[in-house]
Amino acid sequence: MASSSPRWQTGQQVDPGTVLTQVGTVDSQLSGNWARHRFRFQYLLRTEQEETEMSCYVGRLTIVDAVGLISLGVRPVMPNDVVRYSQANALLNLGFSVRHTPDRIEEHVSITSAGDWDPSVGELFDGCFVEYVKGA
């Protein structure tokens, strides 16, 4: 969480080697002999909901830490909480802007696209995340 002397300035590009964490949810079902886990992460911006940037957090955060940030520490991890990881370099190489936008959450990062965030851009964004971790 934020300290008195911020580590990053607003608008500063995230170092390419930085790991990023995105928070999402998972639907889990036991069916027959199989456990099915359907991950759900936002990959398109909802312009009708005035979304202009995708949020992530700096660092390889555990689910407990990520849920702590997104809920300001007021709710426990739930079974459908999930995180996934990318490296800033993967996004930067595809032309995304990855910038520190710290506020009360110092780890907050904003990802934007130079053009419209259309489905093809969303697919590129989604493909940058290679590791998924399920919660409790």
Partner: protein, 150 residues
């Protein structure tokens, strides 16, 4: 209007009704999660209690007193924001809504026992469930009064 917002179905949770302007975003994750809106000269705090990253979510609204917004704006860390949110919302969360990604606010209800930021959201979930059951009962009653097809 008192402690309650005027809420309109289909609205975004951070613009929940006619003339409700988003005044301050205090916490966000791609979209606002906690903030302050103004409607008819009154300020209301809103916060998401369930579904921050899901396509269905539950939100609470609490009327703010004079000076509360400034108190919230002065916070510099997540911890001081959370502490101040608890203070300014204490027992004042009087409206709860259920919203979906596709339809915006779908269901709204009043909370008999005012919620405070950080409270277990289960009471809001139960209140919304009761509201849904009441709506369903009314719809069934309406259906029963329809003339039979010729």
């Amino acid at each position: 209007m008192g402690d309650h917002l005027r809420i309109e179905q289909g609205s975004l949770p951070w613009r929940p009704g006619p003339g409700a302007d988003l005044v301050e975003v205090l916490h966000r994750y791609t979209h606002p999660l906690i903030g302050v809106i103004e409607q008819s000269g009154h300020q209301f705090l809103f916060w998401c209690v369930v579904g921050e990253t899901f396509d269905a979510s539950i939100w609470i609204y609490a009327r703010l007193e004079a000076g509360d917004l400034e108190r919230l704006q002065r916070t510099k860390t997540a911890q001081t924001l959370a502490d101040t949110l608890r203070k300014v919302s204490a027992g004042r969360g009087r409206d709860a809504v259920f919203a979906s990604e596709d339809s915006g606010i779908m269901l709204a209800t009043s909370l008999d026992d005012g919620m405070t930021f950080g409270d277990d959201p289960l009471s809001a979930v139960h209140a919304l469930k009761r509201q849904l059951e009441t709506t369903e009962t009314k719809l069934n009653a309406l259906r029963d009064t329809e003339p039979a097809p010729v």
